[in-house]
């Protein structure tokens, strides 16, 4: 088998993008799974898609448009959910449908950009530039640094936000920061994985890690590892079988999730040792 292709710059960029994107998406996925907001990835990726199309239309870098729209969506979703007028899922649904509508509007009124729009939808990890890698690297380092620095505040907030607030943790600020980080990660990974598929790379590794551990720190690490594994294995399969890389990465992450479900210790009935003590409540 000829592996000389890995000596090429574009392939090295792709390997780096899979590493950095896998780590960032894997970690963000833990928030998505534990906060029960699976729809956030879909809503944010469509916001990024609409923003990138706006960039194409107005002639500036689509990445900037995607970033602005993602952060805008994050800024709307949090307060909408917090005011209690809508549940987080409903506010995400409203944002999702609005962004989808705007994206299709741009595609409709800009027939010449249809091909570029499809590129944004599917993404291409093999077409990453050094600039894309730098953006991904900055976001991945930011995501890891925030989780390491604020782990205890994050742990309390994703467990029960009201309790986190009640003990004096700025839980609302933490929650909004998570939404902004999600937007930044989706934007940075957008050109590699594509607007349609990024959601799977966020959800699948974290959902797989969720099946395997009762420890939140370990869940972050395992999810990031699964994200990287999905990217690297997907790249390899896409090269070996000459199939689209983004889709292969996502299918690989889904296979990892299915294997995690099959081998999950959480599926088995666990007999925890329990010593009877006076006053213990059954």
């Amino acid at each position: 088998m000829d592996f000389s292709i890995f000596g090429y710059q574009f392939m090295q960029n792709a390997i780096l993008a899979a590493l950095l994107g896998g780590i960032a998406c894997g970690i963000i996925g833990v928030f998505v799974v534990l906060l029960h907001l699976p729809f956030i990835g879909v809503a944010m990726s469509h916001a990024a898609f609409a923003g990138a199309l706006l960039g194409l239309w107005l002639g500036f870098n689509p990445l900037i448009g995607a970033f602005i729209f993602c952060l805008g969506a994050a800024a709307v979703i949090g307060p909408l959910a917090d005011r209690g007028q809508l549940s987080p899922e409903t506010s995400l649904g409203v944002i999702f449908s609005l962004m989808l509508g705007i994206a299709f509007l741009f595609i409709g009124i800009l027939p010449n950009t249809r091909s570029a729009a499809l590129d944004l939808l599917w993404g291409s990890i093999l077409a990453n530039t050094r600039g894309d890698i730098i953006v991904l690297g900055v976001v991945a380092v930011l995501v890891v640094a925030i989780v390491v620095l604020f782990f205890k505040e994050i742990q309390a907030t994703v467990f029960q936000r009201d309790i986190a607030r009640a003990v004096g943790i700025p839980a609302t600020l933490i929650f909004y920061s998570i939404l902004f980080l999600t937007g930044a990660t989706i934007t940075a990974s957008f050109s590699s994985i594509g607007g349609l598929l990024i959601f799977s790379l966020i959800l699948n590794p974290a959902a797989a890690a969720y099946q395997l551990t009762y420890n939140m720190k370990r869940m972050f690490i395992v999810s990031a590892a699964f994200g990287v594994l999905s990217g690297w294995a997907g790249l390899l399969f896409s090269y070996l079988f000459d199939i689209p890389s983004g889709a292969t990465i996502v299918v690989t992450s889904s296979v990892i999730f299915m294997l995690a479900v099959i081998f999950s210790p959480k599926r088995r009935v666990k007999s925890w040792p329990k010593k009877p003590v006076p006053g213990d409540i059954p």
Binding site: E153, A166, V167, P170, D280, I281
Partner: protein
């Protein structure tokens, strides 16, 4: 009357278009064990969240431990107020152990950028031992029963080393044995630690035995306030729950006799 640690004056709180508290005033002296009773929707939970600064107060003033509970220092205040919320369903697969949940009580006091040290873990283990849950410390929180989770919530408050203890129906949905055990546990902690405790309950049998004072709350207003054996009567419960006196007496035959009950 001892120095009040909680001073609520003419407080109004609204949740969107419904008013939860309509000009409530209440002073709680240090060391008091105060029971709050009232029908659903009376504003009991809102009254507790006014004390720890979680509620948005539209009008009036709330001073707790000498601080304005609605002012900029409310984050600091919350670190001194332990709060056991109504039991919520916890995801069985939530990746967090019982010991880590109790440690959350320390997080506010630790502040940003500081990690729990040996002293913090020692406090957590002591709190778990005090509520009789040390043997379940390593178990995922979602695997515990409702009563066990409420004990863990109490241990979390203990680890917080609060001065004020707020409990929002901690025994709701528990069986009689678990209810009495938790109330005994809270009373013991209240006395041993010299706390000021506000306890929402529907357990009238326990009121005369455990509480120093009882507040009756209805439609966002305090309708009665005093020692439990004076304040809990057929007349007051009839007014509180909109029930004819005959029905109250039929359901609670021992109330009007002066409160000689069957223990907790």
């Amino acid at each position: 009357m001892a120095e009040p640690v909680i001073q609520i004056e003419n407080v109004v709180v609204a949740h969107r278009d419904s008013v939860a508290l309509r000009g409530v005033s209440l002073a709680v002296p240090r060391g008091e064990f105060l029971g709050i009773i009232g029908p659903n929707g009376a504003g009991k939970t809102t009254l507790l969240t006014v004390v720890n600064g979680l509620a948005r107060v539209l009008q009036g003033s709330v001073t707790v431990l000498g601080r304005d509970a609605n002012g900029r220092g409310r984050h600091e205040l919350r670190k001194q107020v332990g709060y056991v919320a109504q039991a919520l369903a916890i995801d069985k697969r939530m990746p967090i152990s019982t010991r880590e949940v109790v440690m959350i009580g320390r997080y506010g006091r630790l502040g940003l950028f500081r990690h729990p040290g040996r002293h913090d873990w020692q406090l957590v283990d002591e709190a778990l031992a005090m509520v009789g849950m040390a043997h379940l410390a390593g178990r995922p929180i979602g695997h515990l029963s409702g009563g066990e989770q409420q004990r863990v919530a109490i241990a979390r408050c203990l680890a917080q080393e609060p001065e004020i203890f707020l409990l929002d129906e901690p025994t709701a949905s528990l069986d009689w044995k678990a209810q009495t055990e938790i109330l005994e546990l809270v009373k013991r902690i209240h006395e041993e630690r010299g706390l000021t405790t506000l306890f929402i309950t529907h357990n009238f049998d326990a009121l005369p035995h455990a509480f120093d004072r009882v507040v009756l709350l209805k439609d966002g207003l305090i309708t009665g306030d005093g020692p439990p054996d004076k304040i809990i009567s057929t007349e007051s419960l009839s007014l509180l729950y909109n029930l004819p006196k005959a029905v109250v007496e039929e359901r609670r035959p021992h109330i009007h006799t002066g409160g000689h009950h069957h223990g907790l």
